[in-house]
């Protein structure tokens, strides 16, 4: 009984445990297609602050000028909160640019790497290490 104080919270600093199994909640390659990178731009319509992954919805205007409704997967709410990103960081109406990869079901869903705000500020969406391609979006990516 002498070792721990009751309710002792122990945080384990993620010493990046990369292996064949470091796949995130789900394997990136099971859900998304690394051969379909995309850039989406438009106003945020909804933010789903949910487990196991957050989803940001936006209205993208394609090359033909048509409006498309997309949803983009981000990191877990827990992880984003610890990085200072919360449900109110990106309000509906905010114009964002999303750098990501389309889902393998070819629907208007994507995995997000980065979000860029109008002022150039970048929010990292937390998909690194899930098997997403090492594309330079994450400077610590390997």
């Amino acid at each position: 009984m002498k070792l721990f104080r009751p309710l002792l919270a122990v945080g384990v600093i993620a010493t990046a445990y990369f292996s064949a199994q470091a796949i995130g909640h789900h394997a990136f390659s099971a859900e998304f297609d690394p051969n379909r990178p995309l850039i989406l731009k438009g106003p945020v319509t909804k933010v789903e602050w949910v487990n196991p992954h957050s989803w940001i919805h936006l209205e993208h205007t394609n090359e033909s000028g048509e409006k498309e409704q997309w949803m983009v997967e981000g990191g877990t709410p827990n992880t984003l909160l610890r990085r200072g990103v919360n449900k109110r960081t990106i309000k509906p109406g905010t114009v964002i640019v999303v750098d990501g990869y389309q889902s393998k079901d070819r629907s208007q869903r994507a995995n997000g790497r980065n979000i860029t705000l109008a002022d150039g500020k970048k929010l990292f969406m937390g998909s690194s290490g899930t098997g997403a391609p090492v594309d330079g979006a994450d400077p610590t990516g390997r």
Binding site: A9, A14, T15, A20, H25
Partner: protein, 212 residues
């Protein structure tokens, strides 16, 4: 067998993402995306990935915070990832080997200032990569100035020729432990299965065209 096959497919999935390679062996062979139950337990939100809840409890990409609660008879270790809780019975015996659990059956005792936890009775899918139901894990927790020193030894004759060990520090933290209710909106499962159906349709179409 089902499990072994699933993991054997991982490398292929990453290498060939653009076609339904699992149909190459025939339509009757079980594929890695046939139904939700052949997906990994982390895809299914049943367990965290990378043995985060273990045992042994390994550091993974995120949500590594733990909370430990003690009573005289039990120790609870709450693992943030997939909000798993391990409940360790102190100075007890293992339950019948007929009863199998996702995180095994854990009993504990003190050796001086070190807490020792012994875990057996796993089901067929322990959190530890490649482990089987015969996994046996012994964990040791020793308080240091600013951390818990965690060490473990793993045995599983079905997978490893001899026991192996690891250790790392769990730094003390004032972090809030958040809930991680993985099932809340697991859109990934639907996306994964729909994607596989599309690749399969394309594969069959191409196979039919090649025949003509």
């Amino acid at each position: 067998m089902r499990l072994a096959k699933r993991y054997a497919n991982y490398g292929k999935v990453a290498a060939a993402n653009d076609r339904a390679w699992w149909l190459e062996e025939g339509e009757d062979v079980e594929g890695p995306y046939d139904d939700p139950e052949v997906r990994t337990t982390s895809d299914r939100c049943l367990q965290g990935f990378g043995s985060t809840g273990g045992p042994p409890m390994l550091p993974t990409l995120y949500n590594n915070v733990k909370r430990i609660v003690q009573t005289p008879d039990h120790i609870l270790i709450l693992i943030e990832m997939v909000h798993d809780s391990r409940i360790v019975r102190m100075n007890s015996e293992h339950i019948s080997p007929d009863i199998r659990k996702w995180m095994g059956d854990s009993i504990g005792h003190w050796e001086g200032d070190t807490l020792v936890i012994d875990t057996t009775n796993f089901n067929d899918t322990p959190g530890l990569y490649n482990a089987t139901r015969d996994l046996h894990v012994v964990e040791r927790f020793t308080r240091t100035e600013d951390a818990l020193h965690y060490s473990f030894t793993v045995e599983d004759p079905n997978t490893w020729t001899e026991p192996w060990s690891g250790n790392y520090n769990w730094p003390r933290s004032e972090e809030t432990v958040y809930e991680y209710a993985c099932h809340e909106a697991n859109y990934a499962m639907g996306n994964i299965l729909r994607g596989a159906r599309i690749l399969e349709a394309e594969y069959r179409e191409k196979a039919a065209a090649d025949k003509e």
